[in-house]
Every structure is written in C-alpha cells, then in structure tokens.
C-alpha cells in the first residue's frame, strides 16, 4: 500500500506507454491498470469497478490507423488514484473521479499528438545517420523515442495527480445533495451503458476482406 505519487505516476506512465510506444500487451487497458492502481493504494474494489466501467464504455478507444483516441489508461489510473486517496469507497466520488479524468485524458491526447510530431524530427536524425553510415543512430533513436514517451507520460501523470487531485478534493465536498444523488444513479446506469457499448462493438465488427463469404 503506497501513496507515493512518483511511484504511482511511473506505473501510470508505463501503462500509458503500452498504447503505442512499447509492446501493446494491453496493460494500458483500464481493466488492468485501474485495479493495479487500486491494489497499490489499498482499495482494489474501487479500482476494479472503475476499471470495468471505463473499459466497457471506451471499449473501442484504441489507435487504429492514424487515429489517436483518448488515453483510456489515464482515465482509469487518475480516477482510481483520486478516489483511493481522498474518498475511498464512495460511488459518487468514483463517478466524479471519472468526470474529471476524461478532460485530462483529452489534454494528454493533444500532448501525445505533439510527441508524435516530435518523432518526425528523431526520424530525420536517424535517416541522416543512416546516410552517413552511423547505423547506431537507429537504436539510439528508438531508445530516445521510448524514453521521451515514458517521460512525458510520467510528468503528465504527476501533474494530473496533483492538480487534478486538488480540484477533485476541493469540488467533491461542495457538491449539493441532488448532484451526489445523480452521480449515484449514474453509477448504477454506467455498467448498463457499458454493456450496450460492448454489444454494439461485437455487432459492428465487419469482415471487409472476407466479404465474399460473409456469414453474418
């Protein structure tokens, strides 16, 4: 059980890096990273439920082609962190955590886009290296790209955990009763909306390459 923000931000950064930078082992998915964050903070139950809700709702949020979706790992990590740290065990607090984490995830998406633009500069550096016979620049470039990716995710996690945590801690006690009741209702309805998204996902999977033998 830890509340060490540096360690937890590093775990969050590693999970986020899995989306594109390394492996795609799916440790970036909320169903994994939110419970792990909850476990590390001593409240795995909150992590599991947040992970389940975010996973089901954002089931299609995965980079396909050139699209860069919202960083769902950050939604899971940040909301679990805030809830476990400040208002552990409250369903309304979990919903507020997700509400606040989504804008941060969108903000990080913009940073990620900038990072990918920066990758072009590393790419050109590598290309020049190959032209001049410095093949080691290929390995060095990839390692640099990976380090930049983890570093920016790590710094963003620290920023979001502190700033977002302050906003979260300040807002929650001020919320009127009817808003909290609304959040509680939403907590019960979110899994249902998630099931809708999951069923929609399976129904909408098409097989364009195999259209001649479509069996659906």
């Amino acid at each position: 059980m830890t509340e060490n923000i540096i360690f937890l931000a590093f775990i969050g950064a590693l999970c986020s890096s899995d989306i594109t930078a390394f492996g795609q082992f799916m440790i970036c998915r909320p169903i994994f990273c939110a419970p792990v964050m909850g476990f590390l903070m001593g409240d795995i139950g909150t992590g599991l439920w947040i992970g389940m809700i975010v996973e089901m709702l954002w089931i299609n949020a995965i980079p396909l082609g050139v699209s860069i979706p919202v960083d769902v790992s950050l939604i899971g990590v940040l909301s679990t962190f805030w809830v476990c740290k400040y208002f552990s065990g409250f369903q309304e607090a979990a919903i507020l955590g997700i509400i606040l984490a989504v804008p941060f995830a969108y903000l990080y998406r913009e940073i990620d886009i900038s990072g990918r633009k920066f990758n072009t500069k590393i790419m050109r550096w590598i290309e020049k290296g190959i032209e001049s016979g410095k093949y080691w620049q290929i390995n060095a470039g990839v390692i640099t790209g990976l380090l930049f990716f983890v570093l920016r995710a790590f710094l963003f996690c620290i920023f979001a955990m502190i700033v977002g945590g302050w906003i979260y801690f300040s807002i929650y006690p001020q919320l009127p009763e009817f808003v909290l009741l609304g959040f509680k209702k939403a907590w019960y309805l979110m899994p249902i909306a998630g099931f809708g998204m999951m069923i929609y996902n399976f129904k909408s999977v098409k097989i364009p390459l195999l259209r001649n033998s479509r069996d659906d």
Binding site: L48, A61, N119, M123, I130, M198, I199, F202
Partner: protein
C-alpha cells in the same frame, strides 16, 4: 539464423515507438529489420542502400508487422545474394504497401475489435462472479482478475505474433491467403465474445437484481424499463456522438432527474 529471428521478434514490440505522422512505422520497420540486414549484407554500401530503402512510409497493425518483415527479409536476402538481377529487382516498397493494408484490417478486426473485447468480458464476468458469488474471498482474489485478462490476451497475442513472422518466411506473399483461411477464428471469436457479453449481462442482472436499489422507482418493472432505455439509447448516442458524449449525457440526465425529484 534463429538468433537473428528472435532478435527481430523482440524488436517487433517497438515498431510503433517512433510512430510519426509523416511515414508512420518506418523507423520501427527499419529497427526490426536491422539485425537481418547486418547479417545478410556484407557490403556496407549495399546495406546502407537497403536500410534507406525501408525508411519510406509503412503502416500496418503492430501484431501483423512480422509477416511483412519476414517477406521483405526474404526478398532482401535474395537481393544480397545477387540472385535477383537489377531488371528483376522486386519493388520491395510496393510489396510492403500492398501487404500492409489488408494485414492491418485483419489485425484490427481480430485482435483489437474482437479478441480484446471478448477477453475483457471474460474478466468482467469473473469480476461480477467474484463480487457476488464469492463475496467473502473477493478481497484476496481481486488482484487476479486483471492478470487473468493480461495472461489470456497475451498468450494469444505473443504466440500469434511469433508464428506470424514465420508464416511470412514460409509463405511469402501468399501469407495473406493463408491467413484468410483462418476466417473461422474471427467468426468464432466474435460469436464467442457476443455470447460472453450476453452471459455477463445476465449475470449482472441476476447478481444485482433488476432493481436499482430504489434509485429510480420502487417497481422492478419500471427499473427494467430504465435499463432497457439506457441500453438501447447508449448504442444510439455513442454511435452518433461518441462515447464521451454518452458518458456526460448519462451523468447530466441523472443529475437532472435528481434535481427534479423524478
């Protein structure tokens, strides 16, 4: 040579590290291919030429990249051995581009569109089962649930990724047709996923009941109607306006209902 293939396989996990808007996975592709080119090209100028040849645009599904890498490696070996004359030199980049698109579509559909959601649902099924049926043991076993997801997914992912590279070496350009013959796996996983999704929904209802803890009404029938409306509307709203819009719409609607005292 198996050592080189193993290095290429490990390096394939980094194919997207330097993903960029201009040429996407080009450096990742060069990074994977480099140990092979180091081995087959003894002439430095030819090696440089080969490396530069692969700095062009490339983009496919990360798990399927092994197939293209293997096909290109086989061609590069032929070029290095001078078994291909300049006139018959295959347009390697053209082959890369024509293979990348269909493989990306297959990978997206199978791994990201079908397998991952199906395994997510297995984990969610286990989660609901643990919480409601094995309530007392839940705290001890809870951490196993995310690891079930990771292990199940990566057993398929890593084995497939490894085998796909050798498929490329063995079948070359025909790999795409070989992969198409496994379409039953896609259909099977998709249908299996849908069945698991429905089973999880049923388990959710049986575990938590139809009543929303008296949140919306005292009647189970009315709560069932609320569930149905949310289920149908969520699909409609998310498909037209996106999931984030759906999420905030549900929150705002619930807050409004609470405010109005409905």
């Amino acid at each position: 040579m198996i050592k080189i293939y193993s290095r290429m396989f490990v390096r394939s996990f980094f194919i997207q590290t330097l993903w960029n808007y201009e040429r996407m996975q080009n450096i990742g592709f060069v990074f994977i291919l480099k140990p092979f080119l180091d081995k087959v090209y003894l002439n430095e100028d030819k090696k440089k030429e080969a490396l530069l040849r692969h700095t062009g645009h490339f983009n496919t599904h990360p798990y399927m990249s092994g197939v293209v890498v293997a096909i290109v490696a086989s061609l590069e070996k032929k070029i290095a051995e001078d078994s291909v004359t300049d006139e018959k030199l295959p347009d390697v980049n053209n082959i890369k581009d024509t293979m990348a698109g269909p493989l990306a579509a297959l990978g997206d559909l199978f791994f990201f569109g079908t397998l991952r959601p199906a395994i997510s649902f297995i984990s969610i099924f286990i989660l609901i089962f643990f919480v409601k049926v094995l309530d007392s043991r839940f705290v001890d076993c809870g951490i196993l649930i995310p690891f079930v997801f990771i292990v199940l997914y990566n057993v398929v992912h890593i084995v497939a990724r490894y085998r796909l590279m050798f498929l490329g070496f063995k079948f070359g350009k025909e790999s795409i047709f070989v992969l198409s013959s496994f379409k039953f796996l896609l259909t099977l996983t998709r249908r299996g996923g849908l069945i698991i999704a429905i089973a999880t929904l049923v388990l959710h209802f049986s575990a938590f009941g139809l009543g929303l803890n008296g949140m919306f009404s005292d009647s189970n029938a009315q709560d069932a109607i609320v569930y149905g409306i949310v289920l149908v509307c969520s699909v409609f709203v998310a498909s037209r306006f996106g999931v984030t819009f759906l999420f905030y719409t549900i929150i705002l609607t619930c807050v409004l209902i609470s405010y109005l005292g409905i």
